[in-house]
């Protein structure tokens, strides 16, 4: 019993203790709770205490507000109010741009005629001629959606020899100026010493700016376009490729971080460059500045100048650029500098030190994937920051610099077209590019959103989306001779193509002057045959993006092509592995003719090839769209007039997009009905002019593309057991063995 009492007492004591504890009578000191830890890290002492009072809910439905509001304000009025209030520095597309001008004729750009006596810098001339040569150009201001001045606005630095005076009155006197509405003004430099303002020195009204070195404060989002600063030597078209020839592993180069440039001792933008010497270590971080610029630099020089200048002379800029992992891009007097594009091209990952710079094409380019965006205030942390970046990330950053350089920056043409495409995306909201289209190969200029808004409809994003192309193809046969006999090659071709298990349908493109043959003249096949009359019966019509092409793959055929079912099947299975390329039979090659100093074309048997002709080739149907909508009418009409070279042009186009060669399949070289004598088609090939024309075409195309996009390949793809000494019965593609 004694024991029992004792327990009772101790029990009660315990219970009271618990009670006290519970109701806060005895609170353990902060020391007791302070050092507690959970999940392995120290829990803060007083986190937000999870109040569980019956708190009021936020009522996020503003129905009653909206009802009240609706009584007073009509949405139409509201829109009108907005567009009248937000002008000047607060311009947006909704308030300063007239969308109605673009509705009738689409996105057309008008360039003012050049006035006599107005001098135009070479760079601006390049910009204007790019627009005039682009598919957006219209010479009729009545059709235009966007207007571009012929007055040179690139250099608005009053001290510059390029500066155009009296721009204000000149602009105001333009009859179509309309206070700058729907105008686009290009500018590279604005302001001058000492404050370098971003004012252009004339009233731009409601015009949009495509401006270099623009600051986030002055940048009107989704209205202005930030463009890169480019030099007057920047090529008009084509442009050099990036310097990266291959991916090096590990990705580190001789230097970690380099910079070489002027130092401004005082004034705007001088702080960062003045401080660079703190970080310079003369080993892997080499940041060099010189005071030697301007006439009287000696007068202003500070204590460090001589030492800096001596160090500066020791290093070669090119050598550093090509051998550094990261390149510092600090602001100069203005926010942007030439260093940016130089680093980008050199595959030297830019490290931006230019606070408040709205990076070029920031509206569409995700710069975190190609550059390190530093903060001028944290200059001293930059070396440790770049050192902390993982090798895999460096590898990705470096490749992305090359992609961006070649997609948007390597020529004036690309810079201008990118600017126009960005504005077009805003104007035609529904058909605009997604972020992915802009930031992955082949880039926004080659990915036309009018084709489809679905990424999976393009040949470029299958891997990214984790999907495969449609497992069928549509054959498009280009017919130019009338149907007279039942032994004509086209009929044999129809039958053998239709027999392919991958064939979804056959389209016969009737480009013959004779009327369409009766339906019963076509052979009976298990797949539908659709006969389409060619538009104007011209060559380019074979690459029209016909709506009736429902599969991703197109098998393009000449009417006299000889191809067996097996060959069709094999080519299609190969294409499924390379959906972005042309895969086919007739291979051709190009070469540089040193004597004539021009490109040559050859159909001889050689050890390599760079084209696969579309007389028997499979490619993605998107290329039909690209051919029809991307290429300028000058090239297409040349093809139509000659009735020749369409296949070469298609190869140029696809290689320009992919930067890769086409793929030749199997040994087959003869793919034409050699017996054909009299038909018009055959005579076309026999014609000696025909060959000469093709040479001419090559050179014409190369000049429009700004270089030779074709790439050679030394291999062809055969079936795995091709010509192997094993039983023919084991081979899947037996027909291919026979020639």
């Amino acid at each position: 019993m004694q024991a029992k009492k004792r327990y009772l007492i101790s029990l009660l004591t315990g219970a009271f203790l618990v009670l006290l504890f519970y109701f806060g009578g005895v609170v353990p000191g902060p020391a007791a709770t302070g050092s507690r830890s959970r999940h392995g890290y120290n829990r803060p002492e007083q986190p937000w205490p999870h109040f569980s009072d019956p708190l009021q809910h936020l009522s996020p439905w503003d129905h009653s507000d909206t009802e009240d509001y609706n009584v007073h304000i009509s949405p139409r009025q509201k829109r009108d109010v907005n567009s009248s209030v937000y002008k000047g520095k607060r311009c947006r597309m909704q308030s300063c741009f007239d969308f109605s001008l673009c509705q009738r004729n689409g996105f057309k750009v008008y360039v003012y005629p050049q006035q006599k006596g107005e001098k135009i810098s070479e760079s601006y001339q390049n910009i204007l001629s790019t627009i005039e040569g682009s598919r957006f150009y219209t010479s009729d201001p009545g059709q235009a959606c966007l207007f571009v001045l012929s007055l040179d606005t690139l250099d608005r630095d009053q001290l510059s020899p390029q500066y155009v005076h009296n721009l204000k009155t000149k602009v105001q006197s333009l009859p179509l100026w309309n206070n700058g509405r729907n105008h686009l003004i290009f500018n590279l430099y604005s302001g001058t010493w000492p404050d370098y303002t971003e004012d252009l020195g004339f009233d731009i009204g409601q015009a949009m700016l495509a401006k270099a070195s623009i600051s986030t404060e002055n940048f009107r989002p989704n209205f202005d376009v930030s463009i890169p600063l480019f030099s007057k030597d920047h090529p008009r078209t084509g442009g050099d490729r990036g310097y990266l020839k291959y991916n090096t592993i590990p990705p580190f180069r001789k230097y970690m971080l380099v910079f070489k440039g002027k130092r401004y001792l005082t004034g705007i933008g001088s702080d960062t460059r003045n401080a660079l010497y703190h970080v310079h270590n003369a080993e892997d971080v080499v940041l060099l500045t010189t005071c030697k610029h301007g006439k009287d630099w000696q007068k202003h020089k500070d204590a460090r100048c001589d030492k800096d200048n001596a160090e500066y002379e020791k290093y070669d800029y090119r050598e550093m650029l090509h051998n550094s992992t990261f390149c510092l891009v600090p602001r100069g007097r203005r926010l942007g500098s030439f260093r940016f594009l130089e680093a980008l091209q050199a595959a030297c990952v830019p490290v931006m030190l230019s606070n408040g710079w709205e990076l070029p094409f920031s509206e569409v380019i995700d710069w975190n994937t190609a550059a390190v965006i530093g903060d001028e205030r944290l200059l001293l942390q930059i070396p440790s920051t770049v050192r902390s970046i993982h090798q895999d990330k460096i590898l990705a950053l470096r490749q992305q610099t090359q992609f961006l350089w070649e997609a948007y920056f390597s020529s004036v043409e690309k810079i201008v077209l990118t600017t126009l495409e960005i504005i077009q995306d805003r104007v035609l909201q529904q058909t605009s590019r997604s972020n992915l289209m802009w930031n992955s190969h082949p880039g926004g200029l080659f990915t036309l959103p009018h084709y489809s808004s679905y990424l999976g409809d393009f040949p470029f994003f299958y891997a990214e989306l984790g999907i495969k192309p449609n497992p069928k193809f549509t054959a498009v046969i280009h017919a130019v001779t009338p149907l007279v006999s039942q032994s004509q090659p086209i009929l044999k071709l129809l039958v053998s193509v239709a027999r392919s298990q991958y064939c979804a349908q056959i389209i016969v493109l009737w480009n013959c002057d004779k009327p369409l043959p009766a339906k019963h003249r076509w052979p009976a096949t298990s797949v539908p045959i659709i006969v389409i009359e060619g538009e104007n019966k011209v060559m380019s019509s074979r690459f029209q993006p016909y709506d009736s092409i429902i599969s991703d793959a197109v098998l393009s055929l000449d009417e006299d092509t000889v191809l067996s079912t097996t060959e069709v099947d094999f080519a299609f299975t190969v294409w499924q592995s390379f959906p972005e390329r042309i895969v086919g039979y007739p291979a051709r090659s190009h070469f540089w003719d040193n004597n004539k100093e021009r490109w040559g074309y050859t159909s001889k048997w050689t050890n390599d090839y760079s084209m696969v002709l579309t007389g028997a080739a499979i490619y993605h149907r998107y290329y039909h769209f690209l051919y029809s909508h991307f290429l300028p009418s000058s090239l297409k009409s040349m093809v139509d007039q000659l009735a020749n070279c369409e296949d070469i042009l298609m190869n140029f186009l696809v290689s320009a997009v992919t930067k890769l060669p086409p793929i030749k399949v199997t040994q087959k070289k003869q793919y034409k009905e050699t017996m054909m004598g009299q038909s018009s088609r055959a005579s076309r090939w026999a014609d000696p002019d025909h060959f000469a024309q093709r040479q001419t075409c090559m050179n014409k195309f190369a000049s429009w593309f700004g270089g030779m996009p074709l790439v050679h390949s030394q291999m062809r793809l055969d079936p795995v057991l091709f010509k192997d000494q094993v039983s023919i019965l084991r081979k899947k593609y037996r027909e291919i063995e026979r020639l």
Binding site: Y7, L11, A15, P28, T33, P44, E45, P47, H50, S52, D53, L58, P60, H63, T66, E67, D68, Y69, H72, I73, S74, P75, R79, Q94, E217, P221, K245, N247, N368, V372, R377, V386, S388, Q399, Q429, Q430, S434, N435, H441, Y454, D457, E464, L465, I467, F570, T573, V574, W605, N607, D608, K664, Q667, M715, R716, L717, P719, V720, F722, D724, Q725
Partner: protein, 719 residues
């Protein structure tokens, strides 16, 4: 005594030396009393107590306990938000400091109840449940710090989610009274319902100096790009209603409008659309005959027919989200939750989290004045695109809209990404739902490059002790013109490599590296001696390959530098009887692997193999002394999504008489083991990454009737 000793040593001090019966009795009694007490306590003090264990909040557990702070009339008022503020001008980055984890630290002010001089609170509702949830989530996250001196970002505990319930001037004064306010630097305010009658500003009207604003309903004129964060308007239905995810696909209705307070101008236009397109549109409005309360929120009506909201949203492909008095609408959240593609018509509206989310993939934005064209615009969108948008919409809701926690964490992550941009989350991480992340392939060597021929390749020969054969291989390889270096990996620890003078004389540098252990993985080690990007892995008994074949292989690799390009082709097959994968080395029409007994590949894959091989595959390979080549094929196919390339017809490698399966491969158990490897690797990778193709690469003029001396690669063996 015995028992007492036992108990004394084992039992708790409180219940010593007792008979079991008594002990149970007392323990029960004790528990009952204790439970009773706890129950009483809980009952009495319920509103004050804590939901989860009271461990962390012993001092304050009710909002009513928060200290009362009186705001003097003359207390300073902050300036109105400065529209030119950007991170580099209005944000003190030094407070965030250098941080190895690249993570900002966030401090939350303790709760205070602000009242004016006469004691009227500054807010009619006080702390809302949503703001409490938000702050709780932040305090539970890795971002939180209680150390105000280490904080980079400060969050006031004053709830400004709904401007309607605020007294503007007093709220502003309260903010300015915060001890670390300092002109609002590095302070973050969350607001979902900005503005008030009559013109409903699109940003919070409370003057706030330089504070960052996470606002729901910004217009392009109030949003400071790169500074403010546009957030969604949270819908409480997210928590109340459980809408299971529906498979993307066509729905009963094409367009659905569910908002109740649509301006009559718009309603007229919607009705006109309905007349033109009939059943495809469903225009719902509020139910006039229902009693008020919860029901009215959860019901919608059309001509007397009652529909459950938000369930009805799942029945439509597209759902209209029109602006109201405010640009941001809670309906957007409901629509996304239902997996319905939002059709957003709110001119100048900055979409939630648009800094990181690619809304083009989840929504359709139409200018308000184009409302009459809505049907045509939506009809032009391809079906597959609609399905992708439905999936994407749902994913956006799950990841970024579904709770106050999701909204808060996303906001902080966005700010974090700005401060540490080099460690920012990628576009793919933000935008790809897990299904896509799982199946999509982003090759690390994504740039289309054809490397120049000149650097050549490094041949890495793995050898144990077959000296004679090794020397023959070396002699053969050394004839290849693009060979840059020979690297012999000497895998025999018991025997030294032959003396230098005994090795064949070759024109390129020859290096021998001795390994510490006889492991197959050694052949894939990224030796510093490998200076070229191209590596030729070759066994010491592959003597049949001609120099033309090797040179051609290198040329093919240049065209496909991201693939395995090799000679011995193999295949994996699905064994239906056994229900598992099977290894196939017969001569087949298909190829899914090329063995690294003779293959070119990029040096990058050496790094991947050595440092990034998933699971225990490396150890498995070394333990079994087999399958390193299969593992390499898995690795490359998995990361690039591409098939290997088999070059030339070559099938015999060791001697002219040999069959395809020779040497090691002859052994039947070996074959079984290789099948096992495939199954093992497939389970580690969680998928079968290998891709089957039916082609091989031959020189363009292979087998052509053409003068051999004019061919670049005449000597291509037929088998």
């Amino acid at each position: 005594m015995c028992a007492s000793v036992k108990y004394g040593s084992r039992g708790p001090a409180l219940i010593p030396r007792m008979k079991t019966k008594h002990r149970i009795y007392y323990i029960t009694l004790f528990s009952v009393v204790l439970l009773g007490l706890i129950a009483t306590g809980m009952f009495q003090f319920w509103p004050h107590s804590i939901e989860s264990s009271a461990e962390w909040s012993l001092d304050r557990r009710s909002v009513h306990d928060a200290p009362l702070v009186r705001i003097p009339m003359s207390s300073p008022i902050p300036e109105r938000g400065d529209l030119s503020c950007r991170m580099h001008t209005c944000f003190d980055v030094y407070r965030c400091g250098y941080n190895p984890k690249n993570k900002i630290k966030v401090y939350i002010y303790p709760l205070q109840r602000f009242v004016d001089e006469v004691g009227v609170p500054i807010s009619s509702t006080g702390l809302s449940r949503e703001y409490n949830d938000l702050l709780s989530a932040i305090s539970d996250s890795d971002f939180y710090t209680d150390d105000v001196t280490r904080a980079c970002l400060f969050i006031p505990s004053t709830d400004v989610l709904n401007q309607n319930s605020l007294r503007i001037r007093e709220t502003a004064q309260a903010l300015a009274m915060l001890p670390r306010w300092d002109k609002g630097m590095n302070h973050l305010l969350f607001n979902m319902l900005p503005g008030g009658p009559p013109d409903y500003n699109t940003a919070l009207d409370v003057p706030r100096d330089r504070a960052l604003l996470a606002g729901g309903g910004f217009s392009t004129w109030t949003y400071r790009q790169g500074y403010d964060v546009s957030i969604p308007v949270y819908s409480p239905l997210s928590a109340e209603v459980d809408l299971p995810e529906r498979q993307p696909g066509p729905r009963r209705y094409f367009i659905l409008s569910s908002q109740t307070a649509i301006h009559r101008e718009y309603r007229v236009e919607l009705e006109r659309l309905k007349e033109e397109n009939g059943e495809a549109l469903l225009l719902l409005d509020k139910c006039s005959n229902l009693s008020q309360g919860l029901a009215s929120v959860r019901k919608r009506c059309y001509k007397g027919q009652v529909y459950d909201y938000p369930q009805i949203l799942q029945e439509s492909s597209f759902c209209v989200v029109l602006r109201g008095a405010r640009l941001g609408q809670a309906t957007l959240s409901d629509v996304l939750q239902a997996g319905c593609v939002p059709v957003i018509m709110a001119d100048s509206y900055i979409l939630p989290f648009s800094e990181v989310l690619d809304w083009k993939r989840a929504s359709v934005v139409i200018p308000e004045e184009k409302l009459p064209e809505m049907y045509t615009i939506l009809k032009s969108i391809p079906h597959r695109q609609v399905e992708e948008m439905q999936r994407q919409a749902r994913w956006f809701w799950e990841a970024y809209f579904s709770s106050m926690k999701a909204i808060g964490m996303t906001t902080l992550q966005i700010i974090n990404d700005r401060i540490y941009p080099y460690a920012a989350r990628t576009y793919e991480e933000w935008n790809n739902p897990s299904v896509v992340k799982w199946s999509s392939v982003n090759s690390p060597l994504f740039l289309p490059l054809i490397p120049p021929r000149s650097p050549g390749f490094t041949a890495v020969v793995l050898t144990y002790d077959r000296i004679e054969s090794l020397f023959r291989v070396i002699t053969e390889i050394s004839k290849v013109s693009s060979l840059a270096k020979l690297l012999v990996v000497w895998n025999n620890q018991n025997k030294s490599p032959p003396e230098e003078s005994l090795w064949p004389k070759v024109t390129v540098p020859l290096k021998v590296v001795r390994t510490k252990e006889n492991k197959l993985s050694n052949r894939f080690f990224p030796f510093d001696e490998i200076e070229t990007e191209a590596v030729l892995a070759i066994d010491d008994d592959i003597i049949m390959l001609t120099s033309d074949e090797l040179q051609f292989g290198y040329e093919v690799w240049r065209e496909f530098p991201d693939r395995l390009v090799g000679y011995p082709g193999r295949l994996h097959l699905w064994d239906h009887e056994m229900g598992k994968w099977k290894y196939e080395s017969e001569w087949t029409n298909e190829v899914s692997m090329v063995l690294t007994g003779a293959a070119f590949y990029h040096k990058y894959f050496n790094y991947l193999y050595t440092y990034k091989m998933p699971g225990d595959i490396k150890n498995w390979v070394d333990a079994h002394m087999n399958c390193e080549d299969i593992a390499m094929n898995f690795l490359v196919a998995n990361i690039t999504g591409k098939a290997p390339i088999k070059v030339t017809p070559r099938k015999k490698f060791k001697c002219p008489e040999c069959t395809a399966i020779d040497g090691l491969s002859l052994d039947q158990t070996h074959m079984v083991e290789r099948s096992e490897c495939i199954n093992k690797f497939a389970s580690v990778f969680g998928t079968m990454p290998l891709k089957v193709v039916e082609h091989r690469a031959d020189p363009v003029l292979y087998k052509d009737d053409f003068p051999e001396k004019l061919k670049s690669f005449p000597n291509i063996g037929s088998l």
